[in-house]
Every structure is written in structure tokens, then in C-alpha cells.
């Protein structure tokens, strides 16, 4: 069989490759933990889109990024950088907090 016969398959694979490559770069949102609180505490992300939250802890004290609304929890040790994917989400407000210091809260607004 010549290469011709494989052409549609190769084309399909290339297309699949590019589309997944395009989809593999979700928007990033940076959140810093400073003095056990979130900076910024108010973040906005687009609706119906998978988003990568990059959480960096500037303190030496460990924190836990937790959200009941987002069904997410991840420990952020001192001076560590962690990634958490959320969504795709419907529009609305989603609360999150530091489970090791529950007075520190934040809101993720989906527009």
C-alpha cells in the first residue's frame, strides 16, 4: 500500500494533534498566598473553560487551598508552587478558603 492510502488517517491525526494542542493550553490564573491570605482574593475566569490555577505560597507556613464550591483541596507547603485545574464552570461565584487558616477566603467569579 502506498502512502496515499494513509493520507486521510495522517490528516486526521494531525488535526487531532493540533486541536488537542490548542486545547491543552488553558488560561492560567496566578494566586499568591501571603500572610496566610490570598493575593488577589478576587479572581475572574471565563465561563465554560478549563482554567489552571497556579498557587504560590510566599510564607514558610503551609496552607491548604480548599473550596467546597469547586470540590477542590490541595495543600500548598511553605514556598511551594502547586497547580490545580478547575472547570469548565458555569457563570457564578465560587468561594475558596485556606483550610489551615479559615479566616482567609477568596472568591472565583466565572463570567
Amino acid at each position: 500500500m502506498t502512502l496515499h492510502a494513509y493520507r486521510p488517517i495522517i490528516a486526521a491525526l494531525l488535526l487531532l494533534g493540533t486541536s488537542s494542542a490548542l486545547m491543552a493550553a488553558p488560561p492560567e490564573v496566578q494566586i499568591q498566598i501571603k500572610d496566610r491570605g490570598f493575593v488577589p482574593a478576587q479572581i475572574e475566569v471565563p465561563a465554560d473553560t478549563k482554567v489552571k490555577l497556579v498557587i504560590t505560597n510566599a510564607d514558610t507556613i503551609p496552607a491548604e487551598f480548599e473550596s467546597n464550591d469547586l470540590s477542590r483541596e490541595v495543600i500548598v507547603p511553605g514556598h511551594a508552587r502547586v497547580e490545580v485545574y478547575v472547570g469548565p464552570l458555569k457563570t457564578g461565584k465560587y468561594e475558596f478558603f485556606n483550610d489551615f487558616h479559615t479566616a482567609s477566603t477568596g472568591t472565583l467569579t466565572v463570567r
Binding site: 496566610r36 497556579v54 507556613i61 491548604e64 480548599e66 490541595v74 511551594a80 497547580e83 489551615f100
Partner: protein, 282 residues
């Protein structure tokens, strides 16, 4: 102090529920106490180790290391539980008989399946490492040793009390039905763990969501509430689950019960016809 007690209680609770179920599921087995103690001790050692290396684990895989670690540990526990449940579907009948005639049967009590020891260790490790990090954070944040210590002990005591209540509640089940009941609880536990692992894998972007927030049962119990945490530990409850969590839960349930049914049927055909074989999954 109360703040510390509540956090410690919530973490201990999840481990205590699992330890209680394992304790009930291994009732009457020779060497059970040793098995449970070893599990808890290994879990505490593991918790200290995991807490000590938390920063290294967290930064693995480009920042998704902790989610992947949690998923791996939960999947390992689910596999071990499944292994035990399937083992029980072949030996459950004899074990129930030993329980009912304890005095005459001490000599031929089954060897305890050590798979469940590892499950206990994993449960203690997972929740324990969070407690260690939390306490460390509180201490570093200037909370005094007295407040931390008393809060920690109060939380620990309350968590263990709930665990004991569940254990003695389970023991009220008639001996002939105890293992059938604990086996079903273990199947749900394993399905919940696999589903929970799925959530961690979605969080690390290793699995597709298959739809986010399929339903919202926050009105019933939020993930952070005590009821939510109990249900999460027992059946992998999530107030806003994604599709993959539901798929994994159902798939695990079907897989274990299917395999258990097949094994007990095979044992039935192989066994003495006068003595029907174990049927712990029905």
C-alpha cells in the same frame, strides 16, 4: 483551642471510620489486634514522612504532585480493599461460622488478610499528614503549645469516640450477617476511593471531567460539613461531582460485585454440595 480541635477532629474522623470498618470486617480473625496496631503505627510513621516531604511531593509533576500522590494512594487502598472483599467471597462462610462458634473454632481461625492492614495505614497516613502540617503551621504561626496540645487531644478523642461508636454499632449486626454487611460497606468504600482518586486526577488534569458539577447537593451536605466529610469517607460523596467521579464509582461497584459473584459461584460448584458456599455479596 476549639479551632484546632475541630480541624483535628475532622481529619481523624475520616481515618477513624475506615479503621472501625476494618476492625469490624476482621472480627474473630487471629492476630487482628496486631494487624490493626501495625497499620495505625505504620500510618503515623508514613504521615510524618509525607508531611516532612510535603514540599517535594507538591512540586512533582509541575505542581500537580500532591494530587497525583493522593490519587495513587487512594487507588492502592481501593485495590487492597477489593482484594479483601474477593477473598471474603470465598472464605466468608467459614469465617462467619467461626464467629458463631468462637469457643470451638479458635484453633482454625483464618489468618488475617494483611491487605487491610495497609488500608488502615493508608487512611492514617492521608489524614495524619494533613494534621501534622496543620499543627506545624499553627505552631509556626505563634499558637501556644498548650492550646495546640489540648485542642489536638480533644479532636483526637472526639474522632476516636465516633470511630468506636461505629465499631460497636457494626458489632450489633448478628454474627451470621456481619461479614456480608462489612463486605458491602467495604465495596462502597472502595468505589468511593476510586471516585475520589478520579477527582484528584481531574484536579491534576490527568483525566477529563466528563462534565463538571453534574448536580449540586450542597443543600443536603456541603463537602466541608461534618456530614459531608463522613459521607465522603464512606462513599466518596461530593456535593458537586464531575461525570468521571460517577462513572468511576459505578464501574468499581460493578467490577467488584461482578467478580465477587463469579468467585462465590465457582466456590459453590467446587465445594461439598451439602455445604453451600459463601455468598457474602448477596
Amino acid at each position: 483551642m476549639l479551632g484546632t480541635a475541630i480541624i483535628v477532629f475532622r481529619e481523624i474522623l475520616e481515618a477513624a471510620l475506615i479503621v472501625s470498618i476494618v476492625a469490624a470486617a476482621t472480627r474473630g480473625l487471629a492476630g487482628r489486634t496486631r494487624l490493626l496496631t501495625l497499620g495505625v503505627v505504620a500510618g503515623i510513621a508514613g504521615a510524618l514522612l509525607v508531611a516532612g516531604f510535603a514540599a517535594q511531593i507538591a512540586t512533582l509533576a509541575g505542581g500537580g504532585g500532591q494530587s497525583l500522590f493522593n490519587a495513587a494512594v487512594l487507588l492502592a487502598a481501593a485495590v487492597l480493599i477489593s482484594w479483601h472483599v474477593l477473598w471474603m467471597s470465598r472464605h466468608g462462610r467459614e469465617m462467619a461460622q467461626t464467629l458463631m462458634q468462637v469457643s470451638s473454632a479458635v484453633g482454625r481461625a483464618e489468618k488475617p488478610p494483611s491487605a487491610l492492614m495497609v488500608v488502615v495505614a493508608i487512611a492514617v497516613l492521608r489524614e495524619g499528614s494533613e494534621i501534622v502540617l496543620f499543627i506545624y503551621g499553627m505552631a509556626a504561626g505563634g499558637v501556644g503549645v498548650a492550646a495546640l496540645g489540648s485542642g489536638g487531644i480533644l479532636g483526637l478523642a472526639a474522632g476516636i469516640a465516633v470511630g468506636l461508636a461505629l465499631y460497636f454499632g457494626l458489632l450489633r449486626i448478628p454474627p451470621g450477617k456481619l461479614f456480608a454487611a462489612t463486605n458491602w460497606i467495604l465495596v462502597l468504600l472502595a468505589a468511593g476511593m476510586v471516585s475520589h482518586a478520579g477527582r484528584y486526577l481531574v484536579q491534576a488534569d490527568w483525566l477529563p471531567t466528563l462534565g463538571t458539577q453534574i448536580w449540586d447537593s450542597s443543600w443536603l451536605a456541603t463537602n466541608g460539613s461534618t456530614l459531608g466529610r463522613v459521607l465522603s469517607a464512606l462513599v466518596g460523596y461530593d456535593a458537586r461531582p464531575s461525570g468521571i467521579q460517577l462513572v468511576l464509582f459505578m464501574a468499581t461497584l460493578i467490577l467488584i460485585t461482578g467478580a465477587g459473584w463469579w468467585l462465590s459461584r465457582r466456590a459453590e460448584t467446587a465445594a461439598d454440595p451439602c455445604r453451600p458456599a459463601a455468598d457474602t455479596l448477596s
